[in-house]
């Protein structure tokens, strides 16, 4: 049997000291050990992007990291975005733009877009499409998602799919 490993990791501003199995991946750690079930798991091979979280500010796929690799690092998940029940501007933009349907991919989309926003880069819609293509969505056809991210990155108005600018 594998030996458990002790890690110290800051998640959404809270320092956690936990003992984890070496083979546990980071998304499972967030979900099963810390109870942060907003981070979803879709393929466990780094393709679908459901488990995307921020590791020291960078968007990473939680299923491709082992929990012990989080030791000493800072993680942010979808649960960190809203404050006091108030949606963050990015979340509000997704809502305004009808950027979600079943909502399963939404946390991965939001964390990917958060990293883009914090990077300070200006991206056109084609570049947004490229950057967001690491997270799959089977419901929306992506139009509302791209509109929402465009709105937040470039200050355009987030509208429901089909009503956006720059088309």
């Amino acid at each position: 049997m594998d030996e458990a490993i002790e890690i110290t990791v800051t998640v959404n501003g809270t320092v956690h000291r936990e003992t984890v199995e070496p083979r546990m991946h980071a998304a499972d750690f967030l979900r099963r050990v810390l109870g942060l079930t907003g981070t979803h798991v879709g393929c466990e091979q780094g393709v679908c992007g459901m488990c995307t979280v921020l590791l020291d500010g960078e968007a990473v796929k939680g299923c491709l990291l082992l929990a012990p690799q989080l030791d000493g690092h800072e993680v942010r998940t979808v649960e960190s975005l809203a404050e006091g029940g108030e949606l963050a501007p990015l979340q509000q933009a997704f809502k305004d733009a009808h950027g979600l349907q079943c909502g399963f991919c939404t946390p991965g989309m939001l964390m990917t877009a958060t990293a883009l926003k914090e990077s300070g880069r200006k991206l056109d819609r084609d570049e947004i499409r490229e950057e967001m293509s690491g997270v799959l969505c089977r419901c929306t056809g992506y139009e509302g998602i791209v509109n929402a991210v465009d709105a937040v990155l470039n200050g355009t108005v987030a509208t429901a799919a089909g009503e956006g600018e720059g088309r």
């Binding site: 083979r23 979900r31 099963r32 979803h40 393929c43 009808h98 089977r138 419901c139 056809g141 992506y142």
Partner: protein
């Protein structure tokens, strides 16, 4: 209250919620990571299940030695097929194909496995890891049997028979339908075109895999199953039947569902196994499908071969259409089985009196096919619309003009097609005209054939279609042996905060049903949209309904919400009339109160009225206490949505590379409850339509019978960067057969991409006589089609 008053109130212009893009009820929780998906449920002391699956397409299980697994620390239970066959009933088929041989199947294969990925053993253990290790430790001796993967090859006389005890061959059933004398019409037609069209096997691929968490309290005889499903009440029935429990002992809870698209319709083996393990171990049992399992054990869709013919007179008027098609069911039944809607819409939106359509269902050694968004309609659209273009070329008539000539006119509806479908209403030509204008059809045609300045050939592809949404009555379903109804049911319960709790058995998987139901309730009742709380998907709390599939939720649900809201509102108004001492007719609900239209100072708050009704104090004489209503509503018939699409595609004739430069869809889904939700549904379905048309195909290697691309890495669903730009237009012709005139909308977008793109490529390359007859369409398949046309030979060999 008089009947006329009720009607007048029902149809009054209310708070303006219906028809507007109000923010969705579902969004706040989903945006904050507070959705409750099945894998988010983890009761204390849970055990975890893993399933061992057959690695062969067809094999006999000679022996199973479970002892090494049973002996492993942390393992709490192991099942084999023999035990499951003895202790459970086969999973039931919810929508049998009429006339089909009964092929019962159990949760675990008993002796013979008929597809790769079929469950053979299951283990529960302290962790998923231990359970999977235990599966590896079980020794199973398989004797591989001859297999057949190809749909048509399965029907050849020398094909291995999958179910020799029940069948002599692999043809499950053939369902012919006809009207008039299509063969005679074809013999006399001025022009006949025919073709064989192969539609590839795809998967719905919801982002959330299937999942179940089962709990059993033996003393209470209460099984609680959290299941990621589109039909919690049907799963409850199926679980009770298969586990030999009374339905009263089974509760199914469906929270948020991360996409369904037809794949999560009805009970799957793993859900039954988890429940039985929970019963035996008296511990909660959890199973979440991994993606490798998903590709092999969750139902696939679409795969079929259509042999289609169209005959026309010299003016291009269609005189006959025939379609003999074969759908691939895979190795055994699934809850819904293979596509059944190709027949009903086979002749599309056209005027054609004589027709024949025959569905054949073939068994092959592949994963079972189930319902998938569109359910036969995209498939037949490719065949029919490709041939309409070929006919246009043959007759020298412009394909737009040919369609215009044959589309049913508004004044010809309602129209019964040759398969018996009754198209309710619509202006089919208008949608075609809209897309033609949007792409500047005349201007593009004027540019003439031949390569453009960039060396690429440009073509226009058109397609026109009808889409059945909802379905005809329960009587119709009964004749077909379907084990569900045509109605929806909704309960409204006033609460003491002055709000309404809305209970529906329709689970939430992205359709915006919570929002749409609340919009209708607010519209009819008059209460604030925000004061309505929707509770969906728990069989203990919600009225027994049918479920969310076949684009039927709104068609049936709208009527149930409306009728329940009328009942609740009218009782509320009766109480208020007595309190305020005014005529009932002058009262209405406006937001958070009942007010008098004549004297707005006369008002009673909903909070006070609800409290009075709930405690039974201060009610009019003879009024019973309580304030709750349930309504069951069956629409009078299916409603037919419709539309047309145009694609402009640029093709490199050297390499087969192509680019979709324009894609315009004009559609009609009747009266629109929430425009943003409708647009989201159409765009989402289009993305799946583009996937199936261009990049998605589950491929089985013929010799080994193995699925060769069954992972996320190897199966290409469209990403944000892959989607062509789509322009959407719509008309809003109300359906006369549904509440508010709504039509279903969830599946529309899956239908047109394949045909529109195929037609555009063939149009671009018309001078080479290129024909495209299969999906997906890839640069390679276009290149082969060009070579084949040039050689007059078989491009596949070239």
């Amino acid at each position: 209250m008089s009947e006329s008053t009720t009607t007048e109130r029902t149809e009054r212009k209310a708070p303006g919620v219906l028809g507007s893009s109000v923010p969705r009820k579902e969004d706040n929780r989903l945006l904050q990571g507070d959705g409750r998906f099945t894998d988010d449920v983890e009761p204390a002391h849970s055990l975890h299940m893993a399933v061992g699956r057959c690695p062969f397409p067809h094999a006999r299980v000679e022996s199973i030695d479970v002892e090494p697994a049973v002996a492993m620390p942390g393992v709490h239970g192991v099942y084999t097929g023999a035990e499951i066959a003895a202790r459970t009933e086969p999973l039931s088929v919810l929508r049998p194909v009429p006339g089909a041989v009964n092929l019962p199947f159990y949760a675990l294969a008993a002796e013979v496995c008929v597809f790769e990925g079929q469950p053979v053993v299951s283990v529960v253990a302290d962790s998923r890891q231990i359970a999977e290790d235990a599966i590896e430790a079980i020794w199973i001796d398989y004797e591989p049997l001859d297999h057949v993967s190809d749909t048509l090859a399965a029907l050849e006389p020398d094909a291995p028979v999958l179910h020799p005890e029940q069948m002599e061959d692999n043809l499950l059933v053939a369902n012919p339908q006809e009207r008039g004398d299509a063969q005679e019409q074809l013999r006399n037609a001025a022009a006949v075109v025919e073709g064989t069209f192969r539609i590839g096997r795809v998967t719905a691929l919801p982002m959330e895999p299937r999942a179940v968490v089962a709990e059993w309290r033996p003393g209470a005889r209460e099984l609680t199953a959290h299941v990621s499903t589109q039909v919690p009440h049907l799963v409850r029935m199926q679980l009770a039947e298969s586990l030999r429990l009374s339905e009263g002992e089974v509760r199914v809870i469906t929270g948020d569902v991360g996409g369904g698209f037809g794949l999560k319709l009805g009970l799957y083996p793993e859900e039954l196994l988890a429940c039985l393990h929970a019963i035996d171990t008296r511990r909660p049992v959890k199973w979440t499908e991994d993606r490798i399992e998903h590709f092999r054990a969750s139902t696939h869709g679409r795969e079929s071969v259509h042999e289609y013919k169209i005959g026309a007179d010299a003016d291009g008027n269609f005189v006959a259409m025939t379609d003999r098609y074969t759908t691939d069911l895979g190795g055994q039944n699934s809850a819904f089985g293979s596509a059944q809607l190709s027949s009903i819409v086979f002749s599309g939106p056209y005027r054609v009196e004589d027709g024949e359509v025959e569905r054949r269902v073939a068994l092959t050694n592949k994963t079972p096919i189930g319902a998938y968004r569109g359910y036969g309609q995209p498939e037949v659209d490719l065949a029919r619309e490709s041939l309409v273009d070929r006919l246009a070329r043959k007759l020298g008539i412009d394909p737009l003009e040919l369609r215009m000539r044959n589309l049913l006119r508004e004044d010809e509806l309602p129209y019964r097609n040759a398969a018996g479908a009754v198209y309710d209403s619509g202006n089919y030509a208008e949608c075609l005209k809209m897309v033609a204008e949007a792409i500047d059809y005349e201007g593009l045609r004027a540019a003439g054939p031949g390569p453009g300045e960039d060396g690429r050939y440009r073509g226009i592809g058109l397609t026109s279609f009808v889409e059945r949404t909802g379905y005809a009555s329960a009587k119709f379903l009964a004749r077909r042996g379907s084990r569900f109804g045509a109605h929806e049911s909704v309960t409204l319960r006033a609460n003491r905060s002055g709000g309404i709790d809305l209970f529906t058995g329709v689970s939430t998987f992205g359709q915006s049903n919570e929002t749409a139901f609340a919009q209708i309730c607010a519209e009819v009742h008059g209460i604030d949209f925000d004061a309505i709380t929707v509770h969906a998907g728990d069989t203990l709390a919600t009225p027994l309904n049918t479920g969310a599939f076949a684009s039927r939720t709104l068609i049936a649900g709208a009527g149930a919400v409306r009728d329940a809201a009328v009942k609740l509102r009218d009782k509320t108004l009766r109480i208020a009339a007595e309190w305020l001492d005014v005529d009932l007719d002058e009262l209405e609900v406006a937001g958070d109160a009942v007010i008098s239209r004549r004297d707005p100072a006369k008002r009673a708050s909903l909070a006070d009225l609800h409290m009075a009704a709930i405690v039974g104090q201060g009610l009019p004489e003879g009024e019973e206490p309580g304030l709750e209503s349930t309504a069951h509503f069956e629409p009078e018939d299916a409603a037919y949505a419709y539309g047309s699409a145009a694609a402009v595609v640029a093709v490199d004739a050297e390499t087969g590379e192509f680019e979709i430069e324009r894609f315009v869809l004009a559609h009609d889904s009747g009266r629109i409850v929430n425009p943003a939700a409708v647009e989201g549904q159409v765009r989402g379905a289009l993305a799946q339509g583009f996937g199936a048309a261009l990049t998605e195909e589950l491929r089985y290697e013929a010799n080994s019978g193995q699925l060769v691309n069954g992972t996320m890495l190897d199966y290409f669903v469209p990403t944000a960067a892959d989607m062509p730009q789509v322009e959407l237009l719509h008309t809003e012709v109300p359906s006369p057969v549904t509440p508010f005139g709504v039509r279903g909308v969830g599946e529309t977008g899956t239908i047109p991409p394949g045909a529109a793109i195929a037609n555009a490529i063939c149009d671009a390359l018309a001078e080479f006589d290129v024909e495209i007859s299969s999906l997906p369409i890839t640069p390679e398949s276009v290149w082969r089609a060009i070579r084949q046309a040039g050689d007059g030979g078989d491009g596949r060999e070239g």
